[in-house]
Structure formats: C-alpha cells, structure tokens
C-alpha cells in the first residue's frame, strides 16, 4: 500500500471489511485445511520432489496480485504427459487456489496466472501425470501487504 499511514479508514465499506475475515482466521485451522486439501489431491500417492519449475517472487509487494508460473518437465507423449497442475495455499481462507487440467493437445505443461495471498506463506504446486505420478514443489513468499487490505 502506498499510503499505509492510517489504513483503517477506506473509500468503500466492502473493501474495508475484507480485512476482518482473514485476520480472524486462526493459522492452525488454515494449515489443517491445507493439509486436508493436499491429502485429497494426492489420494494416497507419494509426491516426488523435482521436475517442476515454480516461478513466484520471493517478495511480493501486494498480496492482491502475485505472479505465478509453473513449468513441469515431461517427455510429452500420448502415454506420458502432465494432466493436471494444482496450486495450493497454506494460509489463505481457501487452500485450493486453482487447478489446471491439460489434455495431450496442450503440447507442454506451462501455465501462468496471478493469485491472492492473504499473508506471508508457502505456496505448493502438485503436478499429476498420465502415468499416475505426482510431482511436488513449494516456495515461501513474503507478502509485504496481504490481500484484502484496503487503504483508500
């Protein structure tokens, strides 16, 4: 925020109040829902570290918009290609931020988007392949100003 001197007062009530629900969520509850979400996606499979290039700034100026891009190494054949990429957040109110489903016709596993981060936290990416493997990567992002804070 560029004028964070008195952030409590805001231009519009809707934006102002968004501060509250996030601040009120206990960190423990979020971690548990993150763990549950990851477990559901893994469905008993053990993730392999590596094979994923997760590009996300280590320091984000505003959690409203954090650039994220993911590239997954893959031989990209009909039999062996990436079928899904999931982005998970550890401390957002909703742990499953986005899922990308790729067909063989995507040609390669390379996606980008922008996400909201409520606070400094780890962002986790799971990539599923057509052979049943799951790759995993995680990166810590320091958020200078979390999403959901409006200072006018």
């Amino acid at each position: 925020m560029s004028s964070p001197i008195s952030p409590r007062f805001a231009e519009t009530p809707r934006r102002a109040v968004l501060l509250l629900p996030l601040a009120a969520l206990p960190a423990r509850a979020q971690e548990e829902s993150f763990t549950a979400a990851e477990r559901a996606l893994l469905a008993g499979r053990v993730p392999v570290d590596g094979g994923i290039t997760l590009d996300i700034p280590t320091l984000s100026e505003n959690g409203n918009s954090v650039d994220l891009s993911v590239r997954v190494d893959s031989p990209w054949t009909l039999r062996d290609h990436v079928t899904a990429i999931h982005v998970l957040s550890e401390r957002n109110p909703v742990p499953r931020v986005a899922s990308f489903h790729l067909s063989h016709r995507a040609g390669r596993a390379e996606i980008a988007t922008r996400i909201r981060l409520a606070t400094t936290q780890q962002v986790t990416v799971l990539a599923e392949t057509s052979t049943g493997q799951v790759h995993r990567a995680a990166r810590e992002v320091i958020v200078i100003l979390g999403a959901c804070v409006e200072g006018g």
Binding site: E11, E61, N62, I144, V149
Partner: protein
C-alpha cells in the same frame, strides 16, 4: 565522445533540478514487466473498452476527431486551460465534450466509461514526454497547485514534498516512496483491483496524512494535478500504469 554525450543527455532527462524520477523506476521488475506487456496488463481491458466507446454512436468521438490514434501527445499536455478560463484535466475535457459536442449527459467522474475513454486517449501518449503549458492563463493554477503541494496538511501534518521530494526512494514500511508524479494515471492499482484516476489516488494520499479528502475533479486536486504534471516535465507518460 558519443558515449559521453549520450550519458549527459540521459542525466539531463532523468535528473531534474528537484530530482524527480520516472514513476516506473520505483516499480519492482515484475510490475515493470507487467506494465510493459499488454497481454498481461489488465489496464488494457479498459483501453479496449475506451477505444470501442471512441467509435460508438452517431456523434461519436471519432466523427469529429478521426481515429483515436490522432490523440497521440494530447494527454501529455493536460491539464490545460480551456477557452473560458477553466482548468480541465483529460477527464473533465471529455466530460465537456460529451455535453457540448455530443449533447449527451456526463459519464461521471470515476465511472467505468470515463476511466476507459481517458485510458484509451492517455495510452496514445505512452512514452512521450510530459509537457504542460504553465504560462499565461495556466500560471495562477500552477501557483495554487505548488502551494497545495508545499502545505503541511492533516493530523499528521505532512506536505506532499516532505515525502516525495525529501524522502523519495526511502521506505515507508515495505513500500518505496516514489517521486509522486501522475504520469501513469489512470492506473491499474493492485490495491484497488481496478483502474482508477489520479484524483482517486490523491484522495488516498489525503487519507494517509489524515487530511480532508477533497472532491474528485475539484479545484484543489486539479491545480495539484497541473503542478505534478509540470514537476514531471520531460518524464515519459506511462498510462495506463500498474501501481501497487
């Protein structure tokens, strides 16, 4: 020799008497890249909309002015004094055109339509150097703006210059203080999650020092806008900018 001349030119362009630097210098590399790339810059959604509005209707903007490309350089010369002596920024110039030339009601300050048209016109001056006329009829407005800029205001008793001249480049918490020029407006501000006008940004500045928030399009912010544009003379237009 050639290199020395280029270096000198570069310095003259960047280092003004009061040390004003282009707004993009204060952005992170990520935001700068986003500002430069229309395929990733949400501000272009408004530019597209503005270009459609430019062509829309029987008495369209285009029916008088031709293609919007003809607007190149115009935004770099605003705010400007109209024939009747009023100081108009780009937004108010468009509003006046709506009423007087198109016989249509005003869009309203900060409306999506006005933001879009302003963005579409301002974008045509991207990269061009700011150069507002400040002599003649503009001179008293410039003085008023300069005085507003230098006046300590609000419960926190700060003038614009105390931050944006004396402390530009330093940090307020994690945020870098910029030179405080409006060359990127209307801008897509991450904090707003939308495109907004310079005057909306100025209201946030007033709020920050706990001063009265003045009306959008009002005389004080207009005069300040002229002074900021004059302070930014020679700086490249960046609208639509990306701002934190």
């Amino acid at each position: 020799m050639k290199r020395a001349a280029a270096a000198l030119l570069c310095c003259m362009g960047l280092a003004q008497a009061d040390g004003v630097r282009p707004a993009r210098d204060f952005l992170s590399p990520e935001l700068r890249a986003q500002q430069d790339d229309p395929s990733r810059h949400p501000g272009w959604l408004w530019v597209d909309e503005g270009e459609a509005l430019w062509r829309a209707g029987e008495r369209s903007c285009q029916s008088c002015h031709g293609d919007v490309a003809a607007m190149a350089g115009v935004a770099a010369r605003y705010p400007a004094v109209a024939a009747d002596g009023a100081l108009l920024n780009l937004e108010l110039r468009i509003e006046r055109c709506r009423e007087e030339q198109q016989g249509a009601p005003r869009f309203g300050y900060e409306s999506q339509a006005l933001l879009s048209l302003t963005a579409a016109i301002a974008q045509r001056s991207r990269g061009l150097a700011m150069s507002v006329p400040v002599d003649g009829a503009a001179a008293p407005f410039l003085e008023r703006g300069r005085e507003f800029y230098a006046t300590r205001q609000g419960q926190l008793n700060l003038s614009c210059g105390q931050c944006h001249d004396e402390n530009a480049g330093r940090r307020l918490r994690g945020d870098v203080i910029s030179s405080g020029i409006g060359t990127g407006y209307p801008a897509y501000r991450l904090e707003w999650n939308t495109l907004g006008s310079l005057h909306r940004r100025l209201r946030a500045c007033s709020l920050g020092v706990r001063a009265e928030q003045l009306p959008l399009g009002g005389a004080d912010y207009l005069a300040l806008e002229l002074y900021l544009a004059h302070r930014a003379r020679g700086m490249p237009m960046e609208a639509p900018g990306i701002r934190r």
